[in-house]
């Protein structure tokens, strides 16, 4: 979401990490495909329904938010190495967070509907997460780990207390614009509430020295992240397998299985494991020799995507949601008339691919021509 | 308030130390007058030079004793305060019949295992009798060995004869008298002074006489040379008077305080007027007059030929009843000449005083062992200095008087008349400083109390 991630080396030229570019590109592409199919074709027909069911719906957001934490850690390291003071770092972080939150609210109003302003979607979440990372930066590792574990463990409890199912009876986040619903939505019941989604950026922040701390080419440098991945995966499996068999009194609400809304404990642990494993593997394979022909070619295609992930997030919504609303108004008074029924899933899938290709070309041109972008605006305003 | 007039009789180390200390301690103005019968101040501390070469030698007190290994050493401290550089002195060699016995190993190898064992036994006995702390305190408030046992009885117990001879030769020049005329304690002390754990020896670089010159330079006193004191008394009002002779002219002056810093042998030359005073001084002299004698023969040679065999600063020779031979040229690294000084003590010294200088120089040259080298071939000049009765030391059985009584013989009618002398302590320069410190402190306290002062 922010500027290009760099390794905190002493040289003036920032060294990009191909692993992060590639993984973020994968996350964005997944997100585009899922959003296109979900919004345009999810309930078009039975085949679309089935296809939608099998979409890797929950894969992109964990990757993205995990990478946000990783990126922030690397960005801080780079800034500190260049002599930026802690106060200046905090200011930049908080400004960026507020920019993202503001953009998120504006996005909700302009892209979705005014009543979706406080749906606490991913943009507002990433903004809040960034501000929280400024606090995490000052905390000792043990305190951050404790906070992360508390968030994970208390989330199911909070969902019970807040009566999560009452906000999701119609399979989307439905709330009243009251202080209660807005606050609870931010904390527990929204699309991307702080509990438990804060686990991902915080885990990314903590895992960065584990993954990037050792020599990229050394097998020994992979031992600890792989051990962490295995532990997370095992815990996820335990949650998946054990949870259904617990007595009812212990199965504290809506946390069994692999669900994204709400983010079940198994889902959080499992997707965290997948994110960490992916990044560790890509770091081992790609970052060892960033100048190799194959890696360089990969970076040439994924670089623009990664650098402009924020812009792509907004743009891909614009290019498929606005036409959807316009078409809906054209056929009736309700802009949401064609939502999820506009076309068959394969067509939606094809449009998603076209969007991806178009974004690659577009932002490669933006980079060449040094045209303004959302990322540039954020840097200009906040740094 | 008029300044306190103080007379010091004697311009030797005792008088100079007393004057120096008084000026430092006195809390009111004092006027000091030092009477000295000879043409120089310094007394037994004398560092002249040869005529044939600008080479100096010690004619009197040749070494200073360093007690700082045990506790504070006021003399060492005073020398440092006067800014005088010092050199350590050391030597353990004893020459017996042309044999150099340098160490305990040589005693074993050359005198035999029995002699070695006897030496170690004597050493152990001496250390058992006197700890370094007791050694340090002896002569001050310590009570002398009250037994009537003389040191010769201790020596008689040393067997075999070779060991006894070795010890006698080592100790003779320090004893300055026969073992039968001194106490066991004193005799053992003279042995233990060779042990660095008890005491060290040093000299002042450039000559020990620099000590008295430094004192004289710092003392704002009127020094009257060639003016011997002939009588001391007090008036009916209690103030003291001093009669001296300037040329043929007798002079009498009144003083508030009189300090007599004369050697024991010179005290009888002063007439102490007044029944009580005369009796007190007579008792004092009778108690302390146990004269010991020294004689120094110092010879200048072309080069230090003896250093092939012995390199110590001093070594003992079994001639003249046992004498100490100083390598005086070792104190001056710049000289190429050799200077040997014979310190003859006791009866041999007294008897030798009657001989002429040339005779004594010849005897000294004859006393050199052949193995050391031919002294006559390198001879340049010889000098003799006689010190009969220059030192007093209490023999065995005599108890030391309390320190105050030693220094103020007649406190009733003459509370401001004091005595200072090395014989009141250990007959050394350290002793004379202790004596001078005691009296200077006493007088300063009386000055602080007021015009009359306490009794």
């Amino acid at each position: 979401m922010t500027s290009a991630p760099t390794v905190g080396r002493s040289s003036d030229e920032a060294a990009r990490l191909p692993s992060i570019d590639v993984l973020r590109t994968v996350a964005i592409c997944l997100m585009i495909v899922v959003h296109f199919v979900e919004n345009l074709a999810a309930t078009h027909d039975a085949w679309s329904l089935a296809m939608n069911r099998w979409m890797p719906a929950g894969a992109a957001a964990p990757l993205f938010t995990f990478l946000a934490g990783v990126n922030y850690r690397l960005w801080c390291t780079q800034r500190i190495a260049r002599g930026t003071s802690p106060a200046a770092l905090s200011k930049a972080t908080i400004r960026r967070g507020l920019f993202l939150i503001g953009t998120g609210f504006a996005f909700n109003v302009l892209v979705w509907l005014p009543e979706e302003t406080f749906n606490w979607d991913v943009l507002t979440f990433v903004g809040l997460a960034l501000i929280s990372l400024d606090v995490v930066r000052r905390m000792p590792v043990s305190a951050v780990t404790l906070a992360l574990v508390l968030v994970l463990l208390t989330s199911p409890v909070l969902r019970v207390v807040a009566d999560y199912p009452s906000y999701w009876s119609r399979s989307w986040f439905d709330y009243d614009v009251t202080l209660r619903d807005v606050a609870l939505g931010c904390l527990v019941v929204g699309y991307f509430p702080l509990a438990p989604w804060l686990v991902f950026p915080w885990a990314g922040y903590l895992a960065t020295p584990l993954i990037f701390g050792g020599d990229a080419s050394a097998r020994g440098g992979m031992r600890r992240p792989l051990l962490a991945t295995a532990a997370l995966g095992a815990l996820s499996a335990v949650a998946m397998l054990v949870w259904p068999h617990l007595p009812a009194g212990l199965r504290i609400g809506a946390a069994d299985g692999w669900t994204m809304f709400p983010a079940s404990t198994a889902y959080v642990l499992g997707s965290l494991a997948i994110a960490m494993l992916s990044l560790t593997a890509l770091h081992r394979v790609l970052d060892r020799d960033p100048s190799s022909a194959w890696t360089a070619s990969l970076v040439r295609w994924t670089g623009p995507f990664s650098r402009h992930s924020f812009s792509i997030y907004v743009l891909h919504h614009l290019v498929h949601i606005w036409p959807l609303w316009i078409a809906g108004l054209a056929v009736g008074d309700d802009p949401t008339a064609l939502w999820q029924v506009a076309m068959p899933a394969p067509l939606a899938f094809a449009l998603a691919l076209a969007c991806i290709v178009g974004c690659v070309a577009l932002f490669a041109w933006v980079d060449r021509a040094r045209l303004p972008s959302l990322e540039g605006a954020m840097r200009w305003l906040c740094d | 308030m008029h300044p306190r007039r103080i007379a010091i009789v004697g311009g030797g180390p005792g008088g100079l130390f007393t004057a120096w200390l008084l000026e430092r301690m006195a809390s009111r103005r004092i006027e000091l007058t030092i009477y000295e019968a000879s043409d120089r101040v310094g007394g037994k501390v004398l560092t002249p030079s040869f005529h044939s070469a600008p080479v100096r030698y010690e004619a009197g007190a040749a070494e200073l004793y360093d007690y700082s290994v045990v506790d504070e050493d006021p003399l060492r401290h005073a020398v440092a305060m006067l800014g005088l550089p010092t050199q350590p002195l050391g030597g353990s060699a004893v020459l017996l019949d042309d044999t150099v016995v340098g160490t305990a190993d040589d005693v074993h190898d050359r005198l035999g295992a029995a002699a070695h064992a006897a030496l170690l036994a004597f050493d152990e006995r001496a250390k058992a009798a006197q700890s370094p702390r007791r050694f340090y305190a002896s002569g001050f408030d310590a009570v002398a060995d009250g037994s009537s046992r003389r040191f010769d009885a201790v020596m008689d117990a040393v067997h075999p004869p070779a060991a006894r001879r070795y010890l006698e030769t080592m100790l003779r020049s320090d004893l300055a008298t026969e073992p039968c005329r001194t106490s066991t304690e004193y005799g053992l002390q003279n042995y233990l002074m060779n042990d660095p754990a008890y005491m060290g020896l040093y000299c002042i670089s450039g000559g020990n006489e620099q000590l008295v010159h430094a004192l004289a330079a710092r003392v704002a006193a009127t020094v009257r040379l060639h003016e011997p004191v002939t009588a001391i008394g007090c008036t009916e009002t209690g103030s003291l008077w001093v009669e001296s002779r300037r040329g043929e002219q007798p002079l009498v002056e009144a003083f508030d305080t009189v300090i007599v810093a004369l050697p024991m042998a010179h005290l009888p030359l002063v007439r102490f007027v007044g029944g009580r005073l005369e009796a007190a001084l007579a008792a004092h002299c009778a108690h302390h007059a146990h004269p010991a004698h020294y004689l120094r023969v110092t010879i200048l040679f072309d080069h230090p030929f003896w250093r092939r065999r012995v390199r110590d600063a001093f070594f003992m020779l079994d001639r003249f009843g046992g004498c100490c031979l100083y390598d005086e040229s070792a104190r001056d690294p710049d000289t190429t000449h050799g200077v040997l000084g014979w310190l003859i003590a006791g009866t041999a010294a007294l008897e030798s005083c009657a001989r002429s200088d040339d005779e004594l120089v010849a005897l000294a040259l004859d006393s050199l062992p052949a193995s050391l080298g031919d002294g006559r071939a390198a001879f340049r000049e010889g000098r003799v200095h006689r010190w009969p009765g220059a030192v007093s030391a209490l023999p065995g059985g005599e108890r030391l008087a309390p320190v105050d009584q030693r220094h103020r013989p007649e406190p009733i009618d003459h509370p401001d008349l004091f005595l200072v002398g090395d014989y009141l302590f250990d007959s050394t320069l350290n002793g004379v400083l202790d004596s001078a410190s005691h009296v200077a402190g006493w007088v300063a306290a009386r000055l602080a109390e007021g015009p009359g002062g306490a009794a």
Partner: protein
């Protein structure tokens, strides 16, 4: 010990028969004796007559030249004593003594050489540590996160300064031992060598340097310790903050959730 049997001249090279006094050394055995962390080359020449004089002055001169040839930073120390001569420099030494005294003199010389070598080592160590003092002294005033990469090096130098102090304490009794009385030849030689090389003064100088190092590294250790404790306390404080924050969030959610409930009549 290595035995090298070779005639040596005054420069430590094989002797030539050129008529000089140096060839008098003849067949000598050069011992290499370890002294502390150095090696001392030692030549022992017995005197020929019981009186202690050597067979001509040539031996002494040749021995002196051989010892001097090692090019130490100070000229050799020569101690003649009652028929025995010891010539010493930090890397070479020669003993000329009567047969009966050889063993004792050799032991006394080696004992002194070990003390001197140990003291030289400690002098070097103190010099090295003092050279780092300017770099480390700021940490004696303040130690925080910025200096945490220096903690290992500070610990290492603290250990070395403690080691220096311990070695000085171990060496001091040997250097400052009181003179022996009645004196033996070996004891006197040892005392003379210690005096001539100013062992006691040098020990005092190194102890003074060690005092400075102790002071600075003690303070650094205190600061590091204070920092570690502060960091531990900070950790504990953050843990408490996190727990309290979690409790607050749970309470907040409870309160907010309770806002929506309708009271029963």
């Amino acid at each position: 010990m290595i035995r090298r049997d070779a005639p040596l001249d005054g420069n430590g090279r094989p002797a030539r028969h050129d008529g000089s006094g140096q060839e008098l050394l003849g067949q000598v055995r050069v011992e290499e004796v370890p002294v502390d962390d150095a090696v001392l080359e030692l030549v022992v020449l017995p005197a020929d007559d019981a009186d202690g004089t050597r067979d001509g002055e040539g031996h002494e001169a040749a021995a002196l030249a051989w010892v001097a040839a090692c090019r130490a930073d100070t000229p050799p120390v020569q101690v003649p004593l009652y028929g025995t001569t010891v010539i010493w420099s930090p890397s070479r030494a020669a003993i000329l003594a009567p047969h009966a005294a050889l063993v004792a003199v050799r032991e006394a010389l080696l004992d002194f050489a070990r003390c001197d070598a140990a003291l030289r080592r400690l002098e070097g160590e103190a010099g090295v540590l003092l050279g780092r003092l300017d770099e480390d002294a700021p940490c004696a005033v303040e130690f925080d996160e910025r200096h945490s990469d220096r903690q290992a090096s500070l610990e290492e130098r603290f250990r070395r300064s403690v080691r220096l102090r311990a070695d000085l304490a171990t060496l001091a009794p040997a250097v400052l031992r009181p003179p022996v009385h009645p004196p033996t030849l070996a004891a006197q030689l040892g005392e003379r060598l210690r005096e001539r090389t100013r062992l006691a003064d040098r020990l005092e100088f190194v102890q003074a340097k060690a005092d400075v190092l102790d002071r600075v590294y003690d303070l650094c250790a205190q600061r590091v310790g204070d920092f570690a404790i502060a960091r531990r306390h900070l950790r504990l404080e953050w843990v408490i903050i996190v727990l309290l924050a979690a409790e607050l969030v749970v309470l907040l959610v409870e309160v907010l959730a309770g806002l929506g409930t309708t009271p029963t009549p």
